[in-house]
């Protein structure tokens, strides 16, 4: 049995060598984000009265509760500071560690590198164990670093640890789950998608549960992201809740190990079916669609469900915003003055941010196809570089618009079901489309990197993270306007609020066009890279 784990230590070192920069940046990012939020809130709401008022506004606002969860203790400065980061941060942590685990298990297997290593003195469970050790360890470091940063910002020690460990254990739970999904599919992409769908479902479950009942109902308790909230950091510090993610890991890890020890290298539980002996594909656009359609359709379905859910609770947000402080707070949350419209605008803004991730992911296929040596094969045929790049870019750019349209439509339908008023369906679909140019700017930036510095393409995710953080938390932190202006999301119109300015659409669209154009110039001139 011990033989199954032989070589785990070497693989841990290999994984840390490959990820040292990335993990360090992520951990610093999380810790920094938590500390900044806490420090900013302390400054913004110095006395308990103002905090209670802000917290009560949040708790009475269905859209905010659905997106972020409630503030469990209105008098607690910690609970108010971090309500936006509790579930949201847990979800990002989950995504991060899903990526880490798949990257060092199934992705290595698919690339054939584990075959090479496996021929040495390497146990069957070594890669899985090493990936989990790295993910668990990094989760804990992330949690402790965040706790430290919160304590430094002046929050209570116990609550800070409860919060940090909440993030850490969410990471551990989803890393374990990814350990299982890595065994199920033969493709790394599919294994990752399965785990990410679980993250999305967990987020949606707690949204529904939190809206249904102030403290969350049974649906919230089904969600590992809900557990993070139920720890109630700074609002009771319920340590025992951390047993739930621990139990989830205790189930998932042995399951993953049993699955791994029973299967062949390279095999999954879901086996490949035979394909057609004759192909219908006859163009690079057809191929790009074939490669991308599953992801695009999944995003559209996700946005439809997410949008409908948000739309259907939008009527519960009206009628309690009278005080100027409340309006000011809402403004700082990214909305505008006009009540229900402001909440819908906040929802659409979130969609605008999420869809940018889709645009980046879809356009990144160009980079992936080149790295995998597929571009080499295609460009040796009578296909121009421009046409090949366009085949994926069109899907990314049109996909962004399509997914947003579906999302906006779903918000409208949800609102129709809730209020009986069909009038907003069209308006919301159009309002959602106003988020398109900001997402295109990031797609364009990715293509610029691809065209000139292909090795730097992954940097786009860092840019995305900064743009999200600045857009989402900049107002709360009172960041200088020029810093805020760096984020494309800040320039998206706050539709459907009636006084939203559409002016930002022009520079955003122009920027996207220029970035894409410059990207093409570089791409047509540069050497193709080889795997």
């Amino acid at each position: 049995m011990a033989d199954s784990f032989a070589g785990t230590g070497a693989l841990v070192r290999l994984a840390l060598r490959r990820d040292r920069l990335l993990l360090t940046l992520w951990i610093l990012g999380f810790a920094g984000m938590a500390g900044f939020s806490a420090a900013a809130t302390v400054g913004l709401y110095p006395d308990e009265g103002s905090r209670v008022q802000a917290a009560e506004i949040v708790n009475a606002t269905g859209a905010l509760v659905a997106l972020y969860g409630p503030v469990y203790d209105p008098t607690s400065v910690g609970a108010l500071s971090l309500f936006k980061l509790t579930a949201f941060g847990a979800a990002i942590t989950a995504v991060l560690f899903v990526f880490v685990v798949i990257r060092h298990t199934r992705a290595e297997e698919e690339a054939g590198r584990l075959e090479l290593l496996g021929a040495g003195r390497l146990g069957r469970l070594a890669a899985l164990s090493a990936a989990l050790i790295v993910a668990f360890g990094a989760s804990l470091v992330l949690g402790v670093a965040s706790a430290g940063s919160l304590i430094a910002a002046g929050l209570p020690v116990a609550g800070s640890f409860a919060f940090g460990l909440g993030w850490a254990f969410t990471g551990i739970a989803f890393a374990s789950l990814a350990g299982v999904t890595a065994q199920v599919t033969t493709g790394a992409r599919a294994g990752r998608s399965l785990a990410l769908i679980a993250v999305a479902v967990a987020y949606a479950l707690r949204a529904v549960g939190d809206v249904a009942s102030g403290g969350g109902n049974w649906l919230s308790w089904l969600s590992p992201i809900g557990w993070m909230q139920q720890v109630r950091a700074y609002a009771g510090d319920r340590w025992w809740v951390l047993l739930l993610p621990t139990a989830m890991a205790a189930v998932c890890v042995p399951v993953a190990m049993v699955l791994r020890s029973r299967r062949d290298l390279g095999a999954g539980l879901l086996t490949d079916r035979a394909g057609p002996s004759q192909g219908k594909l006859s163009s690079v656009s057809g191929l790009a669609w074939r490669l991308q359609r599953t992801v695009l359709i999944s995003w559209a379905v996700g946005f439809a469900a997410f949008g409908f859910l948000l739309g259907s609770i939008s009527d519960s947000v009206t009628g309690f915003l009278d005080s100027p402080q409340a309006a000011e707070y809402l403004q700082k949350l990214g909305g505008t003055d006009a009540l229900a419209d402001a909440f819908l605008a906040a929802e659409l803004a979130i969609m605008g941010v999420l869809v940018a991730a889709y645009g980046i992911e879809a356009a990144s296929r160009l980079h992936g196809e080149e790295e995998d040596g597929h571009a080499e094969v295609l460009l040796a045929t009578s296909v121009s570089r421009g046409r090949w790049a366009a085949s994926h870019l069109v899907i990314a750019l049109m996909g962004v618009a399509g997914v947003l349209f579906v999302g906006g439509l779903a918000v409208g339908l949800g609102a129709w079901v809730a209020t009986g008023d069909p009038g907003q369906v069209g308006a919301l679909a159009v309002a959602a489309l106003s988020k398109v140019p900001a997402a295109w700017v990031l797609t364009g930036l990715l293509f610029l990197l691809f065209g000139w510095l292909p090795r730097a393409v992954p940097v786009i995710w860092g840019v995305f993270a900064v743009a999200v953080v600045v857009g989402e938390f900049g107002p709360l932190w009172d960041a200088p306007q020029w810093v805020m202006n760096l984020s494309p999301f800040v320039h998206s119109p706050g539709l459907p609020a009636p006084n939203a300015s559409l002016v930002g659409l022009v520079p955003l669209t122009l920027t996207a066009v220029v970035l894409l154009g410059l990207g093409f110039v570089g791409w047509r001139r540069r050497d193709l890279t080889t795997p």
């Binding site: 698919e110 035979a274 394909g275 192909g279 460009l379 040796a380 193709l528």
Partner: protein, 297 residues
């Protein structure tokens, strides 16, 4: 007709690494041209330059009379390429990949496609994910051979094939040449080059060391001569082009450059030669001489 491939003094750098260092390469229409060299000599880089996937830093080259970089799309209608490392989309079946690549090249003949699928015993319904290296290579070969193109660029196309499939590949190459096609075949398998090619270019460190027919190349290497003589000649070792002289009783053996052969023979005749044997260099010796650095031939 002009050379199908004409590369003159091409330089390609990757940062501080010089991959091609003034490469010359001429491939005539209708010939199978073997492109030989050790690992890292620049064979694949040359093919990728010819495909317009890499931009050259200096030199001049044409492919079918046109510029491989600027006219890549038009040129690729007339050629098919089999990469050394065939990477396919894991979720597509082999048949789908063959048809896609064929259509992107401007169409493929269904009868030929079927023939080559059968010849290489390829199961086209399997997903590319499940293919071995050899089977992925077969997919690329079938896609290339089933297209009706006048030029094939093949990068070590048999490195994953078993001996039976290797023989089938050679058969395909003979047939292809019958139809007047031109092939640039990068390889380091000497027997393959010997069996298939009309002419050979040997490349080392990004530079063509030799180019010519196999007979010409053989001619460039030293012949081993063993003679039994009545009296030992004094000046044998000083003769130009004669090397490694060893004497064992009445028997003398040495290596001789082609240029030194007439002088050696007349000296041996004067010495009363009784028996003489000469051994032509094997192809291996020709290559080893070029592959191993530092030795001046």
């Amino acid at each position: 007709m002009a050379a199908v491939i004409d590369v003159q003094g091409v330089v390609k750098r990757f940062g501080s690494t010089i991959a091609l260092d003034g490469l010359d390469l001429q491939v005539e229409a209708g010939e199978v041209h073997a492109f030989l060299g050790p690992n890292g000599a620049g064979k694949t880089t040359t093919l990728r330059v010819l495909l317009g996937q890499l931009r050259i830093d200096a030199g001049h080259m044409t492919l079918l009379g046109r510029d491989p970089w600027a006219d890549a799309v038009e040129l690729h209608k007339d050629l098919a390429y089999v990469p050394g490392e065939v990477n396919l989309w894991p979720q597509l079946s082999g048949g789908e990949v063959i048809d896609l690549l064929g259509r992107l090249r401007g169409g493929l003949d269904p009868k030929r496609r079927q023939r080559y699928v059968d010849l290489f015993e390829l199961d086209p319904t399997k997903k590319a994910r499940t293919y071995s290296k050899g089977n992925r290579q077969k997919v690329a070969l079938v896609a290339a051979l089933a297209s009706d193109v006048p030029l094939l660029l093949l990068d070590e196309p048999t490195s994953g094939l078993d001996p039976l499939m290797d023989a089938r590949f050679r058969q395909c190459m003979h047939e292809y040449r019958e139809t007047g096609g031109t092939v640039l075949l990068s390889s380091h398998i000497l027997s393959e080059a010997e069996a298939l090619s009309d002419r050979v270019t040997i490349i080392r460190s990004g530079r063509a060391m030799e180019s010519g027919s196999l007979a010409q190349l053989r001619h460039l290497a030293r012949t081993k001569v063993v003679a039994t003589v009545e009296r030992m000649p004094d000046a044998l070792a000083e003769l130009p082009g004669v090397h490694e002289v060893t004497v064992d009783g009445q028997q003398v053996s040495c290596q001789v450059d082609p240029a030194g052969m007439p002088a050696l023979l007349s000296v041996l005749a004067d010495a009363g030669v009784q028996a003489l044997s000469s051994q032509q260099p094997t192809l291996e010796e020709v290559f080893l001489r070029h592959y191993q650095g530092g030795e001046d031939g």
